[in-house]
Amino acid sequence: MANTINACESSVHCYHCGELCNQSFHFDDKTFCCNGCQSVYQILYNNQLCTYYSLSNKPGLNQKVFTKNSYYDFLDQPEVIDQLIHYKEDSSLHISFTIPNMHCSSCIWLLENLYKINPGVQSSVVNFLNKQINLVFDAKQISLKELVCLLKQIGYEPQLSMQDLESKGQQTIKRTWLYKLVVAGFVFGNTMMLSLPDYFAKGNFLNDSTLGLYFNYLTLVLSVPVLVYSAQEFFLSAWQHLKQKKLNIDTPIALALIIIYLVSIHAIVIQHRMGYLDSLSGIVFFMLLGRYFQTKSYSVLNFNKKYSSYLPIAVTKWNNKKEESIAIKDLNIGDDVLIRQHEIVPADAILIHHEAWFDYSFVTGESQWIKKVKNETIYAGAQLKSGVATLKVSKKPSASYLSQLWNQQNNAKQDDKLLVTEKINFYFSIAVLSIGIIASLYWLLQHQHARAFTALITVWIVACPCALLLSSTFTYGSILHFLNKKGVYIKNASLIEKIKHLKVILFDKTGTLTTTEKPEIEFIPLVQKNIAWNEIASLTHLSIHPLSKAITSYLKPSSIFDVSQYESKTGEGIHGVVNKNFYQIGSAKWLQIDEQSENHFSKVYVVQNGNVEGYFEIKNQYRKGIAPLIFSLRKQYELFVLSGDNDAEKNRLQSWFKKGHLYFDQKPEQKNAFVIKQQNQGFTTMMIGDGLNDTAAFEQSDIAVAVVDNKNNVLPACDMIVQEQSLLKLDTLLAYANKSNAILRISFIISILYNAIGLYFAVQGKLLPVIAAILMPLSTISIVGICFGLAWFYAKKIKT
């Protein structure tokens, strides 16, 4: 088998990941961009799994960055295994992983054929939407560590974070919802069927036949599970609020359900008449349906991230000059830990190494890397950028600055304010109830006691705020649903109400106004001569630093030369010999060049054989179409830019934003203070950022919007997730969310109409079960139809 490395035409794409090959690896007549991609192919080839490549085009993901297998040593510890696995029978273990790299049908196919690579895997089932794989494996044949390494080798490294150790069991909640719903639906259908004969016989059927009696008692028995099981949550939540001497939306519902049931027992057992049991189960069924619909649309996304989900599960510990992988929760004060490049510091610690560079953007929002020297404290959450560093843990991970910050924010944000619609609903029920009391008082004065009783009771039945409640749940539910389709994910319905009051929008610059990829690059020559671009590119393409990558893709080298004596100095630059020329490419400081230009763009200098040839100036690239968006949003909202970076881009931004609305060099505390200042003036504030920086200001704002690209699978803690391509339509999408107002108004009017009809009969004491049975489903179905239909109609009008 030919297996060679050589320089080649650069127009070849990698057979595995589809990226342009700068350096190519050949195997089985296929070309690969790196050793990693090739080894994935080799594994698949040896196991006859090449169908992988025929299911979708270039399905693989680039394998250039690699973690060492020894990192997973902690997976050999029995306690860690016990915490990760779901359950165990003999030697087979059940476990599920989240795999962020899962993105196409090839992934599903390969992951479900794992058993062909290693027979120790007994079963593997993928849940694509949750990016999850459920595995059963035989611990005798393959250990957990080997399994994880196998997944990593084929390019599907599972995400193992602290949070995985802490929580499981979302599925069961979803299933319970479904059980309650189907039970209610089943009873609704059957009681309706048993009531129909009476409705058709205009009330004469059940009154005087034994068959009628039999039917009535059947409905009574059938409704029991609806009351005690399906409607459980209404009673529980009403009771919990009552204990705290509060009333909530579920209080009138719970009350109405109990009254309907008691009245029906009275009617069936004593009066030998029909009850309202079909309406009862119908109400419960439709209300559950509404809530199910509303929660279903965003159950996939995990909005409530904990700080622990950002930390790795394990860390390398120095123990008697030996490397040892231990779980983070077992980390103790005084332990020496070894952090490698790109790893995250798990706990507040003191640097033992003489110096190291850290990226603090996750903790503080600063995009510049920070140099730390010996004995300085490093906070948890910082990412190491330079080679390797040793740290001494000074606080337990759970007591770190990061976790404190996190808990503080989460406590501050918890509020269970009633939605406006819920308030309306509440007052509406009180109003209807008082109408009922007035009506029964009226009949009492007329000395018609029985009629007074029926009027009171039936008004309560009408008052069950079913229709109103449904109109809000279905309106918000369908708006959330259509926004999901447009690439906007909103945490919950109360945020749609917040959007209505939105006044101020704050933009983070990097990653929000600018794109995450392809910066604008210009080469500024300092000497008059032809520059050997390919030689420079030969060097830069070897480095994985973002600036080197940007320069390589800007130069688009036509050929790549061999590089000797290549060396990369983290945070400084690279050097090496190409075609007998010695190149140094890097920062001015490293190369000891006096910077003359005033602007603050990132610069990368090129020095050939000791002579400065010039520098690359790297400007941020703004998203295409961001300017029209800003001008459109300006009409309605106050826009600000809060950037942690320097003011190099001030002139360009000034043409888009109002004077004095640009803030540069903002520290995280300043950003946070700015948000609070806006809120104190009574403005509802939205902050748009990539969500990984500025956690404090982000959490403080009323609506935290995270912009994510498809490749980045890390979802930050936020209220709203906007996909990159949807950001440019933010103005129309916000306007769409505001349409909920109009839809709600229409459905409110309709439900009030239905209620008025119901009340008309009820106050006269003439609300027969048949009228209730017609009104209730009719009002529900028309309201559901209108809410969904209008939401769909407005969504269609958004241009995609």
């Binding site: 299911l55 949750n130 299933r175 039970v183 089943f186 039999y214």
Partner: protein
């Protein structure tokens, strides 16, 4: 009419059986993932290649 006593009881039993089947299949995970199976069904059977 008296036949209805039996018939209604039977129809309820059958409906109940369907309800139980539904609950049972939910418990087995039938409705946990409604997306992946739609992709899975499009995979071809293995062509066994000889080296």
């Amino acid at each position: 009419m008296s036949a209805l006593f039996v018939l209604i009881a039977f129809s309820l039993l059958i409906a109940l059986a369907f309800l139980l089947v539904f609950i049972f299949s939910t418990k087995r995970g039938q409705f946990d993932d409604t997306h992946t199976p739609s992709i899975r069904i499009l995979f071809d059977d293995e062509k066994i290649k000889s080296k």
